[in-house]
Each structure stands twice: as C-alpha cells, then as structure tokens.
C-alpha cells in the first residue's frame, strides 16, 4: 500500500453552484441550460394567428408590458397588433388592433412608454416599399406621418427623449437603390402635434466610401437623455465585407439638434459583422453586441456559416476590448441558422442598473447539420465585465423554429422576452406566432476549486 502524506492535490473539479440555495450540474457550451430551471414561466402565445412578424416589446415604469407585432389582419392587409400585460407575474391581454389603415400593409413596429403613455411606430405602405413611417400615441390615437416615402428595410427605432420623441431609421432615395439607405433621425417635442422634418445623420457611403448602404440602425439614449448612441450594419460594395459602425450624438438645446461625433468602426476589417444592437446602462456604459459570421468548410465544395455573438462596451471614454483588438465573444460556441427560413442570427439587448442581458437565435451542432433555432440568453450583472460560461436556452421549444428575440429588463431584474415561434408544418416562410416569456435572470454558475489533502491509497 502506498502512503502519501503531505501531498496536496488541488484539483479544480467543476461543480456548479448557484446563488441562493439551488444546485445543479454544470453544463458545457453545447448543452445550454433551460430557463425553466431558473424559474421562468412557460411561454404564452399572444397572437394565435399563424402569420406574425417582427415582435417588439416595451416596459412601463409601473411594470406593464406591451408586445407589438405585424400580423395579417381582418381589417387591413397587414396591421400592427399589440398585447398588454399587467400584474405579477405578467398576464397578457388578448391581441389588440393598433393600426387601422384598411388599404395598406403595416410592418416593422417598435414601441415605447412615455411615462404611462404607450407610443408606437411602424412602416406603412406597399410592402416592402415604398412606405411611410407612422407614429401613434396610445392604442387608439391618430397616426402621424413621420416621413414619406421611405425605401429599403426601414426599421424605425423609437426612443423617449427628455422633452420629445426621437426616431432613428434608414431609408434609401428610391426603390431601385433600396439597399443603399442613408441614416436619419426625426423628432417631435411632446408639446407639438406633428413631427419635424427628418434630418440626415450621415449618408450611406460616408462611413466607408465610395459605396455602401446603412442597414438596421439601432439606438439608445443615456440616462440623462442628452446623448444618443447609434449602431448600424454597413455595406461597402458588392464584394466587401459588412461591418458594424457606431456614432454618438449630443443634444444641443440651443440648436434643437444633435452634434454628431465622427463614426467609428467597431468590427475588424476582415470579420463579416452584421445586425448590431446597443444599450446604455445606469453608469452610462454603452454595450454593443453583433453577429460575426465565420465560414468553415464541411466537405468538398460545401461550407457552413457559424455565427458568433460579439461584444464591446464603451466605458470611461474607451472601448473594451480596444478597437484594434478582436471583439469579445460572449459565447465561445457558435450557432447556425437554417436555410428553409433564411435568417441571420439576430440580437436583442437591454440594460438595467449594472445588469445587461443579450438574447439571440440559432441552433447548436456540428457545422453544416440541420437544426431548429432556439432563443439563447446570457446576462452580465457587473456592467458587462463578466458574462460567465453559461448560456441559457430561453425558448425551450426544440421542435419549432424560434426567431428574432425582443427583450426588456424590469426594475425587479426580471426578463421579458418575445419572439417569432413557428407553428409547425412544412412551410417555414409563414405560420409564426408571437411568443412571450417572463422569468428571472439566469442563475450564476460558480466554479469552485475542490482541495484534497492527505490523500491515502
């Protein structure tokens, strides 16, 4: 018998510990823990119509939740619908009709709360263009025209400023140049009925000349509501990689306008980078996440696109990681997306206090395998410094496509999530409903070293 004394064996054995009292086994990247075990409620189907697109979500200061989406309607060809949830936990209402135009489609909604007043925006016209950007106060207010016509994938982003509504969007000049959109903002003081004429922030080719177009801008205000932070996906010619750009605007009350800083490229030149989203936390840290696509060969002449969630934050006047370095990957394991409903993984982000949560869609698996997307979720509780190793499966519907998450954090650190959920069948380009799910922050997994002393054999 061998006898070992004084031998200190320090093994770092992975044991999952959770905050509070619960304990469960650690997971590896490829098996994301289910949100249900953190206490999330089961998803609610808000629409039950099987033909929704583009859900967006907003929270009031009182804790009410509103989810809006574009849906084939009974009055209009495609209208904007809403469900309003109240109580604890949130109990959503039935679907309510928000836009009433009987002759035109309506799509790409966004929603926010101005105090307790619901405000919404969408694009209306002949899908996908020409359209006009509309804005409406409340469920039954009179829609106001913000800009007409608009062309391209105009996805207006509605923010509540200190004394006015702000809208940020991209639009091209005409339908033939639909992919070459410029970046705009519009404003309507709370005391004024009509929107002021929109202002162009930068042209489509200004950031990365001579070609290009601006896609999917996303904006966030700081807590003082005097600085807006904008990100977008930038094309720069047919044979050039897409990149993610950022610009900051500071409100000048004397001019009733923003002063814009020069645009900054957040992604590296050799990384295909798409679909950025942005949020600002209570300490004025700016958090940006986007999808980086990486192509891998899966065989002779076949390849697969892996999608990673990239992240940078702007803190104390500097970007972390620095801009010359690769962005931080929030999840070392990539996701993929299917080809029968072509998408790119899409991010949702929100910040409250020091907590930042990011959701995205995709499925796991070896490169090139088929799969069904889930909504994945990751949160930081310290202003973006640490994101942990754990990723949470927030949709938990393995037999259906779950796409395009929208996310909000409430004051009780609960997450409110909405997304498109496929309702089965062989046609994947339609038959989606709006799903809503609420739950707490995913519990932290802490890895503790296990120390073994005076081992005897």
């Amino acid at each position: 018998m061998k006898h070992y004394t004084g031998v200190l064996i320090v093994g770092v054995i992975v044991i999952a510990m959770v905050h509070a009292t619960a304990t469960y086994a650690a997971v590896v990247h490829a098996s994301d823990s289910g949100w249900e075990q953190d206490g999330a409620l089961m998803p609610d189907n808000l629409s039950h119509t099987g033909d929704i697109r583009q859900p967006a979500i907003a929270l009031s200061d009182e804790g009410d939740v509103t989810v809006v989406w574009s849906n084939v309607g009974t009055v209009a060809p495609r209208g904007i619908f809403a469900a309003i949830g109240t109580g604890t936990p949130i109990t959503p209402s039935m679907a309510l009709y928000l836009s009433e135009n009987q002759d035109q489609d309506a799509w790409a909604p966004d929603v926010a709360y101005q105090d307790e007043q619901l405000v919404a925006t969408w694009v209306q016209g002949t899908f996908p263009y020409p359209g006009q950007i509309m804005q409406q106060d409340g469920l039954t207010g009179t829609p106001r025209t913000v800009m007409s016509p608009v062309y391209g994938y105009t996805t207006p982003r509605l923010l509540i400023g200190g004394d006015r509504l702000l809208l940020f969007f991209a639009s091209a000049d005409n339908e033939n140049d639909w992919s070459k959109a410029d970046l705009y903002y519009a404003q309507r003081p709370f005391t004024v009925e009509d929107w002021l004429t929109p202002t162009m922030i930068i042209t489509r080719a200004q950031a990365n000349p001579p070609y290009g177009g601006i896609w999917y801008p996303h904006a966030a205000l700081n807590a003082n509501k005097d600085t807006v932070h904008l990100v977008w996906e930038q094309t720069a010619g047919t044979l050039t990689m897409r990149s993610v750009w950022y610009i900051q605007g500071v409100w000048q009350a004397s001019q009733q306008d923003f002063d814009w800083f020069p645009p900054t490229r957040l992604s590296l030149a050799d990384k295909e980078s798409v679909r950025p989203k942005i949020s600002v936390d209570a300490a004025q840290r700016v958090h940006v996440a986007w999808i980086e696509q990486q192509v891998v060969q899966t065989g002779a002449g076949t390849q697969a696109t892996l999608q990673y969630v990239n992240y940078r934050r702007f803190e104390n006047e500097q970007w972390i990681p620095p801009l010359e370095q690769p962005a931080q990957r929030l999840d070392t394991a990539p996701v993929q997306v299917n080809t029968y409903r072509p998408t790119w993984s899409n991010i949702a982000i929100d910040a409250r206090g020091d907590t930042i949560c990011i959701a995205w869609h995709g499925y796991r698996g070896a490169p090139g395998v088929s799969g069904q997307e889930e909504i994945l979720l990751k949160c930081s509780r310290d202003g973006g410094k640490n994101w942990g190793t754990q990723t949470t499966n927030a949709s938990q519907t393995p037999d259906a496509l779950s796409l395009f998450p929208a996310l909000r954090l409430d004051t009780h650190a609960r997450i409110h999530l909405a997304w498109e959920e496929h309702q089965k069948g062989i046609v994947y380009t339609t038959n989606y409903d709006t799903y809503y799910r609420q739950g707490p922050l995913p519990r932290l997994q802490i890895f503790l070293p296990l120390m073994m002393r005076n081992y005897h054999d």
């Binding site: 899908f127 996908p128 994938y153 339908e175 033939n176 140049d177 639909w178 992919s179 070459k180 070609y211 177009g213 896609w215 999917y216 094309t235 010619g237 047919t238 044979l239 990689m241 050799d270 295909e272 192509v295 390849q303 696109t305 299917n338 080809t339 029968y340 072509p342 998408t343 790119w344 088929s370 069904q372 062989i426 046609v427 994947y428 380009t429 339609t430």
Partner: protein, 159 residues
C-alpha cells in the same frame, strides 16, 4: 407533366423527378425525393422553327453589372436572374451564387452579368417551398466598360 423545351432529338429518353431540389424543406427522410426513372420514346419531330433575328446590340466594350440577391434582408443564393433591355428582350440570364473572396470570406447571393451599354430591367425569382419570391430593379445609364456594383435585388413573396 409538360416539358416546355421538348426534346432535342427523337429516340429513348429517361425522365427523373426531383422534389425539394435545393433541400429547403426540413424532412424526416431526405433520401426519398428522387422518383424512379421513367423511360419515354420520342418519335415525332416538329418542323424547324424560323430563327429569331439576333437583336442588334450597342457596340463597344461590355459593362459589368453585379449585385446581391436578398430574401427577407438576407443574401440568398440560387436565385434566377433575368436581365431584359428596354424592348423586353432577354439579354442575360443566370443564377446568383456563393463566391469565395481572396481573404476566405464568402458572399452569398452574388451575381455578375456582362452587358452592352444601356438601360435594363433586372428580375430575380426563386421558389421556396410553395411560395414564389420575386423582385426587380431598373438599371439605367450603364456605360461601355463600366463596372457597376450594388445592383441588389430584394425578393419578397409574390401573392
């Protein structure tokens, strides 16, 4: 079943039907999409049609027109592209495809056509499951030898 193009020659031919050609429908069994071969014998020959006069095209070096085909905002390969001039004559047709760039990155939905100078209608079309996606743009003032990028086509579902 009707074969628009007919057969080029008389004699024996074999027909095979292929479903879900581009594997766009998720199925429990992806191996049963090919029919058994059907043998047919063609004996009749149609009269030779009168050749259509070759349209006169503008002289000078050709231009290169390139772009990306999109579906729901995502680049999509294997879209049929048809380019017609202002008289409705089909000048070029082909597919958008996936190309690999020198740095190893890929671009989906890329198409490139060599065309005489002029104005054109560029149509993209693709069938996805039971839905037909379609889109078009107008290209004007293409000059001899010009390289024009970003002639992007946005496909939406055709009701």
């Amino acid at each position: 079943m009707w074969i628009d193009s007919g057969f080029a020659t008389t004699g024996n031919h074999t027909l095979i039907a292929l479903a879900d050609t581009w594997n766009q429908v998720l199925e429990s069994d992806e191996t049963n999409n090919v029919s058994v071969p059907l043998s047919v014998t063609v004996t009749l020959t149609n009269p030779m049609p009168t050749p259509t006069p070759t349209p006169e095209l503008p002289p000078g070096p050709r231009a290169k027109l390139s772009g990306i085909t999109y579906m729901d905002g995502v680049p999509q390969s294997l879209v049929n592209i048809y380019i017609s001039d202002t008289q409705g004559r089909l000048i070029w047709s082909g597919f958008s495809r996936t190309i690999t760039m020198p740095n190893g990155g890929i671009i989906d939905g890329f198409y490139e056509a060599e065309l005489p100078a002029g104005d054109y209608t560029v149509v993209g079309q693709m069938r996805m499951a039971n839905a037909l996606y379609w889109g078009q743009i107008i290209v004007t003032g293409l000059q001899p030898g010009e390289i024009r990028q970003e002639a992007d086509i946005n496909l939406t579902i055709l009701d």
